[in-house]
């Protein structure tokens, strides 16, 4: 069983977390911090297995991780998983992320999953992950199958107009609302502050 999948960057900022067992939010953050602490002090040329996260698991659990450029991919698994298998799986997932989310980066080496790509498409990465791991168990390892399923779902989303179309519809919804009511609920001052944030960074 996989107990958790954590992706964070070199500073310990979470980029994607997926717990297959319930932990409260503060506990989750604590686990991320602890794991980061354990993983970050290790050289790149040491082994990728770690025993003894005190917060998650216990003696039966292992941390298996890979470090790509600015990102750490950490799996917390128990003894029923094959260590080397999970290492392969991490590589596989990185590959999927680059293939499925960013079609244009197909030619890129998959070991260079860009952190920025991941941040802005957290939801999509989640959807990919769901096709690979479900409820803590490995669902599918056949590459073609996974890519095909993700593609199909993306296509379906597009046919529905996608989430990207949501704001447009939201705007139209707002336009249909009774205008005088709105300003009461909105702090105009706030909006002014937010304007600069929209410029691309």
């Amino acid at each position: 069983m996989i107990k958790a999948i954590l992706i964070f960057n070199n500073h310990g900022k979470p980029r994607l977390i997926r717990f297959y067992q319930y932990f409260a939010e503060d506990m989750q953050q604590q686990i991320i911090r602890e794991t980061f602490h354990l993983v970050s002090k290790r050289d790149d040329n040491v082994c990728n297995f770690l025993e003894g996260g005190s917060l998650i698991g216990g003696s039966d659990y292992k941390l298996i991780y890979r470090h790509y450029a600015t990102l750490y991919f950490v799996f917390c698994v128990d003894s029923s998983e094959s260590e080397l298998g999970i290492l392969d799986l991490i590589q596989l997932i990185c590959f999927f992320v680059s293939v499925c989310v960013f079609v244009e980066t197909l030619d890129k080496c998959f070991e260079n999953v860009c952190e920025l790509d991941l941040i802005f498409h957290m939801d999509k990465v989640h959807y990919i992950l769901q096709e690979v791991v479900m409820g803590g168990m490995v669902l599918e390892t056949n590459m073609n199958e996974i890519v095909a399923q993700v593609e199909l779902q993306n296509r379906m989303e597009k046919s529905e107009g996608g989430l990207s179309a949501a704001p447009a519809r939201a705007v139209s919804a707002v336009k249909n609302m009774n205008l005088p009511e709105i300003p009461r609920n909105i702090n105009i001052g706030d909006i002014n502050i937010k304007v600069p944030s929209l410029s691309p960074f």
Partner: protein
């Protein structure tokens, strides 16, 4: 214009999607928290909108914030709203958010049941997929119970995409709702052979996960997995299966034998490291489970070790790590083959990777022997010096101590060396493990008597140089060692050369800076030393030295009296007063030494750490009961303390104090000793270990000279190295001596065989430096040996420890969604179905209606199905409550064990016969058979159990021809049934699981004729009784007689009473209070044409002879116009066979049994038997309750056990038409009778 600006801003506000949020957070690095809180405010606004798109966008952002650690549970209801959107895009967002933040405590979860159910049955496979994925993360016991049936249907969905997800989620459902495991298991097993590899992989995954926790329930699946292993090419699946076998082999060694070959093939052929590694791991597990010493397996061990060596030598750190990990598993059983790679492992100690170093350390722990312990520890000590990080150094320190102290200091040949190692370890800077070293010192000094002199000398040096240890405040961890040093010096002070000096060292003013508990030990032991000094100078009149000692104490102790630590202060002032008193006596020239030493007489023995826990609770002691009546609430609190104070009488205690004189003291001590001697729980000194003052002195022990004036750091070579050298020399010397001796011996006994241990330095050759008497730890008398202290009672997997081979009971059917099982919950449910889709209702009321209609239709269909079910159920129910005559216990005792033993014998056959025909496997798996029983019992007429039964030997001739006819009829029926269930054709069940023994033998093409053990008891025109006798597993003097009553008449039979004339040997068990001749009421009535079964328990004393009991059944025949009293006599025949219980026996145990020579033999020849050998075996198995141990061609060994534990072994051989049976049993007359019965069985066919 202004309006336009406002509008534009609003547009932008709604523009903010996930990307904008992330960008915003990145741009507000300084005030992230503030920015996020404004964002959350916005999100709250957005969630208030009616537009589902806006909501979905908000929920998506919340998911991101949740990752950052923000609690978003307040939006749970909105998440449910988004989940119930009809659009896949939004639904997916909703389920994602739910899977991230829902848990069992989320109360809105119960609102989702209907929504999820709807999604599960959605025509769009991705809706279903998303729902399954989400559910896998937040499934609760309630959801699991309500949806189990829906998910089960999805397991047979047409789309593999859905199937695999449904299969996988079943594991979560099982965890939350264990009752679903048994009904769902047959289908899950089917999925192991699904055409889609993904589904297959998922099923393997789930079963492996289940089996890992409760392996014994899944042993019967071994053949199936074996087939998968040899056929599958998917490495993931292979790894899982191989891992599973690793968990199964400890339970079934024969499985291991079967596995070795394919696994070695895989090891040789695979290129995938992960697969290779798992294969090696499982081979190791197999080797561990097999009894060691089998010569043909040494090749496998060699192969494993060799492959692991390649892994460890690999440059990839991961492989190195795993190699070491697996190596440590081999170490436990085959230390020799690992020890040859010591070089490699010591090399790993130098690795830069800490994980690898730690693994190597673990390995070293198991690799030590008497021979190499000193060498290895020396190497480790070098590493201790080199190690940079304190954590690693501390780890090294604990490992050194672990290695040395393992299994009661088994490998230490020289304790002086060990003590010096410990002393050297005290020089470690900043270690946290001072107390560990201290406890080792104490342990060794207390338990190894011979070492005490040396230890005391060393400790005295330590005390003398205490400033070295305490000088640095950072090293305070190590000062714990002084605790041990002080105690050892005090307790074994008779070994001290100069107690005066040590006493002085212990009373230095600097001691006051030590932690309180150490000071307390110092003070106490100073008093012990004082006693020793007094004793030394005993007899010298006006001893100057003794008086000086008293003066020293009187001078120095006041420092401790002022201590802030209560313990120190108390002890110091106590001892100070004592010394003052003694000084007075000394001045009067009174001999005091004797009395003072008596204060500290007696010896402490080590007590095992679990001793307290193991003290059995004496009979009649209820720890939860109140000793005194609890104070009643009415007693007000304020009067209580008053009473306490008023009652106290200080005068009284004072006067008592003064009265005590020396004699009285002595007398009391005597009394106390007596008391302690009689008290089993008091840890007392054994008479032999009473302190003897002039016993083996210091000079007795070969002490290495240590210059006490030199500070602890010996320049140049550390002390332990000297020991190493000494030890080597000593061993060489011994070896040489032994060789001489051996030569002599050889000369003397030349003709005799060579001694086995003459090889170079085997373990036993190394004798300890001095005879060491390791005192074992004390345990309380009659302590319970059980060691299951470490089982976690909260493990959720415990609930899944379910026997999967038992046939399904009707009560176990999964709840079908006709209506909710609990009335309480339904209102909530209704509310949710109204309230959740509030806004969708407006939009899509029509859709809703359609849905509802569909739902209704579906439920109708299901109701129909249910009805069918119900009819069957009702039929069964009719009979069920009436069935058990005796308590349910007997029923349980009789029914399940037969099925388990049957399962075992199935597996036996697979394990013993090499090629496995796949058809046989399907039959082999008992749960599919169970399913078959289910379906067949649903379809076939209920009258089956009352079918005429095959007969037992005692049948009379008169019924014979009739019987034949019945048999024919039955066979016909059987055929019909087969037609009906052709896919279960091999299953001929007439009495549930009772015939399952024969399942195992159906490996050949020819099906067995149907068999039954029920034989006719009696019959007349109204009623017919058939019966079967079976032994009771739990009670060695009870047998259960199952009698089936069949009403043959057109009238109603009622008030049936069953009575038996007891013999001296056998008695019918009657309810308490009933007389010895009272009859038992059969707890049911029989309508015309109906039959039913009742069970009666008999107690038997001797089982070696068959016997008959006479009995009568009385009943009332009630027809429309009249009712008559009728009576039927019968004879119950207890055959010796009926005392036998089918018991599986492994071939090795079987061989041992035969070798033991306790069994007496007998034999039997049967001529003219022309039935296939496996039919013959099946008959013996079935009719005489035997199980096959091993079968080779036309020869088989069989085993059974009587209820009183007699072993019965058969060797059955056949050639042509002759069958010879050689039998052995520890009870000849029982054996004779059993053989006679076997003969009868075969004479009839």
């Amino acid at each position: 214009m202004a309006l336009k600006i406002v509008k534009g801003s609003i547009d932008r506000m709604f523009d903010k999607n996930l990307q904008d949020l992330v960008r915003g957070i990145r741009n507000h690095k300084d005030d992230e928290a503030k920015y996020i809180s404004t964002c959350i405010d916005e999100i709250k606004q957005e969630l208030k909108q009616d537009n589902i798109a806006v909501k979905a966008n908000a929920v998506c952002k919340l998911t991101y914030l949740q990752m950052l650690g923000y609690d978003v549970s307040w939006a749970a209801f909105n998440i449910v709203e988004v989940m119930s959107s009809s659009k896949f895009t939004y639904k997916r967002i909703g389920y994602l958010a739910a899977s991230q933040c829902f848990h069992e405590g989320t109360d809105v979860i119960m609102l989702t049941t209907n929504q999820i159910r709807k999604d599960l049955s959605s025509p769009n496979q991705y809706d279903t997929g998303v729902a399954l994925t989400g559910l896998s993360c937040f499934v609760t016991p309630d959801l699991a119970r309500d949806l189990a049936n829906d998910i089960m249907t999805l397991m047979s969905h047409t789309k593999p995409y859905i199937r695999k997800k449904a299969v996988l989620i079943m594991y979560k459902v099982f965890l939350k709702y264990p009752e679903s495991l048994r009904p769902a298991f047959p289908r899950l097993k089917e999925k192991l052979e699904d055409p889609d590899p993904g589904v297959q992989s998922a099923a393997v995954n789930v079963i492996c996960e289940l089996a890992r926790r409760n392996p014994k329930n899944y042993l019967s699946l071994a053949p199936l997995f074996f087939k998968l292993m040899t056929s599958s090419t998917n490495n993931w699946v292979l790894i899982k299966i191989i891992k599973l076998f690793g968990a199964l082999t400890p339970l079934e060694p024969r499985l291991g034998k079967k596995l070795i070959e394919p696994l070695t093939n895989l090891i040789h052929s695979t290129s995938a490291m992960s697969l290779l590694y798992e294969c090696v791991n499982t081979v190791i597990a197999v080797l561990i489970s097999l009894s060691s010493g089998m010569p043909n397996h040494s090749a496998s061990i060699q192969l494993c070790v060799q492959k692991l060596r390649i892994l460890i030598e690999d440059s990839d750190q991961n492989l190195k790590y795993l190699g070491l990990l697996a190596m440590s598993k081999i170490l436990k059983t085959h230390p020799k083959s690992v020890q040859s790679h010591k070089d490699l492992i010591l090399q790993c100690l130098d690795d830069k990777d800490e994980s690898i170093r730690l693994r190597a350390l673990d390995l070293l722990y198991g690799m030590v022997s008497k021979k190499n312990l000193m060498e290895i520890v020396k190497k480790l000590m070098l590493h201790v010096d080199k190690a940079e990080g304190t954590t690693y150094r501390d780890e090294l320190l604990t490992k050194i101590i672990d290695i040395c102290s393992q299994s009661n200091f088994q490998y230490i040949t020289n304790f002086e060396w060990y003590i010096s190692i410990l002393v050297e370890l005290t020089r470690l800077e900043g270690t946290r493990h001072g107390h560990l070293i201290a406890s080792q010192m104490l342990d060794v000094a207390i338990r190894v008597k011979a070492i005490r002199g040396f230890a005391v000398a060393q400790m005295a040096t330590l005390l003398d140089n205490a400033h070295l240890l305490t000088g640095n405040t950072q090293r305070n961890g190590i000062c714990e060692v002084l605790y041990a040093a002080a105690w050892i010096c005090g307790e074994f002070s008779e070994h001290l050369e100069d107690p005066m000096q040590t006493l002085e060292a212990m009373l230095r003013p600097k001691v006051a800076t030590l932690p309180g508990h150490i000071q307390a030990v110092y003070v106490q032991n100073a008093a012990k030393l004082f006693a020793t000094v007094l004793r030394k100078h005993d007899g010298e009149t006006e001893s100057q030295a003794a008086q000086e000692t008293s003066q020293l104490l009187i001078d120095r102790l006041p420092l401790f009296v002022q201590s802030a630590n209560l313990e120190v202060q108390e002890r110091a002032s106590c001892i100070l007063q004592l010394v003052k008193y003694i000084q007075k006596l000394q001045q009067k020239n009174v001999e005091v030494a004797e009395e003072v030493t008596a204060l500290f007489a007696g010896e402490l023995n080590p007590v095992a750490p679990k001793a307290q826990k193991k003290v059995p609770i004496p009979e009649g002691l209820d720890l939860d009961a109140w000793i005194n009546e609890p104070p009643s609430e009415s007693e007000s609190e304020d009067e209580k303390p008053k009473a306490v104070f008023a009652k106290e009488e200080p005068k009284h205690s004072r006067s008592r104090h003064t009265e005590v004189d020396e004699k009285e003291l002595a007398r009391r001590r005597e009394v106390r000793k007596q008391e302690q001697a009689n008290n089993p729980f008091y840890i007392k000194a054994s008479p032999s270990s009473q302190k003897v003052y002039d016993a083996p002195g210091v000079e007795h022990i070969p002490v290495v000279q240590i210059d006490l004036s030199v500070p602890l750091k010996v320049p140049g070579m550390p002390m332990s190295d000297q020991y190493l050298k000494l030890e080597v020399e000593r061993r060489q010397k011994e070896k040489a001596e032994r060789k001489k001796k051996e030569k002599k011996k050889k000369r003397e006994k030349r003709g005799k065989e060579r001694k086995a241990d003459s090889g170079p330095e085997s373990e036993e050759d190394i004798t300890p430096a001095h005879q060491v008497d390791i005192v074992t730890e004390e345990m309380p008398e009659n302590a319970l040996p059980s060691d299951d202290d470490d089982k976690d009672p909260n493990d959720p997997h415990k609930a899944l420890d379910i026997d999967l081979d038992k046939p399904l009971a009707d009560s176990e059917k999964l709840p079908v969604r006709t209506h909710r099982p609990e009335a309480l919950k339904s209102p909530a449910e209704d509310r949710d179905s109204e309230s959740v889709p509030q806004e969708t209702k407006k939009k899509s009321g029509k859709e809703k209606k359609k849905d509802k209609e569909k739902d209704r239709k579906r439920s109708k269909e299901e109701k129909k199905k249910k009805k069918k079910h119900k009819e069957v159920e009702e039929e069964l129910l009719e009979s069920q409550p009436e069935e058990a005559v005796q308590s349910e216990e007997t029923k349980e005792a009789a029914a399940p064990p037969t099925s388990t033993s049957a399962e075992a014998s199935d597996l036996d056959f697979w394990l013993s016969s090499a090629p496995v025909p796949p058809a046989a496997q399907e039959v082999t798996a008992p749960s599919s058979a169970a399913a078959a029983v289910d379906t067949s019992s649903a379809a076939a007429p209920e009258s089956e159990p009352d079918e005429p039964k095959d007969t037992e030997p005692e049948d009379t001739k008169s019924s014979k021809h009739k019987k034949k006819k019945q048999k024919k009829e039955k066979e016909e029926k059987e055929k019909k049934k087969k037609k009906r269930h052709h896919h279960h054709h091999q299953h001929h069940s007439d009495a549930g699981g009772e015939d399952s023994v024969q399942n195992g033998t159906v490996e050949e093409e020819e099906p067995l004729p149907p068999m039954s053990n029920y034989s006719l008891l009696a019959e007349n025109s109204y009623i017919k009784m058939v019966y079967d006798i079976q032994g009771n597993h739990q009670d060695e003097s009870k047998v259960v007689v199952s009698v089936i009553f069949e009403n043959k008449s057109d009238s109603f039979l009622k008030s049936m009473e069953f009575n038996v004339l007891d013999s001296l040997n056998s008695k019918l068990q009657r309810p308490e209070g009933a007389g010895a001749h009272d009859s038992l009421t059969v707890p049911f009535q029989l309508p015309p044409g109906v039959s039913n079964e009742a069970r009666f328990v008999f107690s038997v004393q001797s089982i070696i002879m068959p016997q008959k009991l006479k009995g009568t059944l009385t009943f009332i025949v009630k027809s429309d116009e009249s009712s008559t009293h009728e009576k039927l006599d019968f004879k119950l025949h207890f055959t010796c066979t009926s005392y036998l219980i089918t018991t599986p026996c492994y071939s090795d145990a079987y061989a041992k049994l035969l070798e033991s020579g306790d069994l007496k033999g007998s034999s039997l020849r049967l001529e003219g038997i022309n039935m296939p050998f496996h039919h013959l075996l099946a008959r013996i198995c079935f009719h005489h309750h035997f199980s096959v141990v091993e079968r080779i061609d036309s020869c088989a060994s069989m085993y059974s056990r009587s209820i009183q534990g007699h072993h019965v072994c058969l060797l059955v051989k056949t050639s042509d038409q002759t069958v010879s049976i050689d039998a052995k049993c520890d009870e000849p007359s029982l054996l004779g009778n059993v053989l006679d019965e076997i003969k009868q069985t075969f004479s009839k066919c």
